[in-house]
Amino acid sequence: MKKSIYYLLLLTVIPSMAQVGIGTSNPQQELHVAGTTSTIRIESLNSINEPVLNDGVKLAPVYMMGNGDLTLEPPGFNSGAGLGNLEPLNFLINVPNFVPNGPYGDGTVVQNDTSITSATSQLVSVPFSSPQNALIEVRYVLTIDLSDQFLPAPAASTFSDISARTIRCYFYIDLNNDGLDAAELSKVYGLHGEAYASYAQGSVGYAFIHGVGYGSIPQGNHSLVFFGETVDGANRETYVGFGGSSDYLKIRIYN
């Protein structure tokens, strides 16, 4: 009873609809703490009660749990990753090799034969699920291997015509994983482009390309649809294998 009297004395309770003001008679939220220097102290989160996550020296970030509780525990803190081993990052997916390598290590080939000067092919579509509305960061690294003879094949053939090719890679976000519509096709992410030309005895093997893109997405099941593109001169053959060796894709909720 003593405590309840205490509450009675200290709570600044307002004759408004289910809203409480502290230091204000006109609360704008369910709980409104007014005052130019006012803040909230939660002793359970102080350095005495949370000595690991609040070391008393540097500021400790606050997180919200699924049930709406405030906590100092970063994502994954109780899943064995432990302090210092896992930054407060939410990764939706982390795929170490997101483009299948194919039988000859050519990945997905964009074929640009003598009849055309530009070619575009879908490389891969990667489904993912986001439990929340989010700004996402997408990072990818792909290998490319280039040939002036048909790929996929057991070996690539090096260029010898010294004619510049350009190679481009990007992705779209297929919201709800229901196929790319016009609006989705109008938004291009993760752009990367290279130029390459060589006389005979040019380099062979894999080169790495990478890209990063930022998109705002709603909660739900979506996919990233990657495309590769090549441009060459008239009557040139250009075959580019995307993702034939080690590549990776990471999607992070960028909060």
Partner: protein, 249 residues
């Protein structure tokens, strides 16, 4: 339960009177406007839980960084300062979208332009995260003639902060370069007409820039070089889709 009920009664209550020492919950001497005194109690906001708030994904052992907005309201919704989000960030006509090396003038084989600038005003010291992807096409001249010669072209992009003066010691940020070279069929048919791709290639840069409170100007530069002798070069920026992302910390 009793305590909760009593507190609830008062929260829903009627009386309003000012107080200066703050409100204590399990705390007899509140030292802030609201002071929770127990060793385990915390604050629950149902409006921000995973059922009610799209930015709280729920799931086991997942937590979400909490922010306050301009009003001081708690929020889970974070957004970038600027994000082209898949739309085309730049187009050639609305920026200084080209850089030209003419085979006359100072024979340094180098030209640079300030492509565009981004004003930014902040009321506290911040760390700015900056990322961009800029499309590039490389030609010999503004008639879009395909280059065919023995010389590589270097195309570089970067940002500077504030100063409109660009000299060799001006601090650059998010530098990125690409080379372009075409000499088609020189080994087999030296007289063959120019025949090659001209783009799109991309410069993509990423950096962090510390900024003090106040108004700043981010200046986006593009340069072309062709070696110490001037070799005709015409670079077009932003002819394809481009991206920019700025976030303040």
């Amino acid at each position: 339960m009793g305590k909760t009920l009593i507190l609830s009664c008062f929260l829903w209550g009627i009386i309003c009177f000012g107080q200066t020492s703050g409100v204590g919950i399990n705390e007899l001497v509140p030292e802030q406007a609201l002071h929770l005194g127990s060793q385990t109690g915390t604050i629950r906001v149902d409006g921000l839980n995973s059922t009610n708030n799209g930015f709280n994904g729920g799931e086991v052992d997942r937590t979400y960084p909490l922010y306050v907005d301009a009003n001081g309201d708690l929020t889970l919704d974070i957004s970038a300062y600027q994000n082209s989000d898949g739309d085309d960030a730049f187009d050639t006509a609305s920026i200084n979208g080209t850089v030209t090396i003419l085979p006359v003038g100072l024979d340094d084989g180098y030209e640079v332009v300030e492509i565009t600038s981004i004003p930014i005003t902040i009321d506290r010291d911040v760390m700015l995260e900056l990322k961009y992807s800029l499309s590039i096409e490389v030609f010999q001249d503004n008639a879009l003639t395909i280059i065919k010669d023995a010389y590589a072209r270097n195309v570089t992009n970067y940002f500077t902060v504030d100063t409109p003066v660009l000299n060799s010691t001006t601090r650059r940020y998010a530098q990125s370069s690409k080379c372009y070279f075409n000499r088609n069929d020189a080994g087999t048919d030296a007289s063959a007409a120019p025949n090659a791709a001209t783009g799109f290639i991309y410069n993509s840069g990423t950096t962090y820039i510390p900024l003090t409170a106040g108004t700043h100007t981010l200046r986006f530069y593009g340069s072309a070089s062709s070696g110490t002798s001037n070799r005709s070069t015409f670079v077009r920026f932003a002819g394809g889709p481009d991206a920019i992302f700025l976030r303040l910390y």
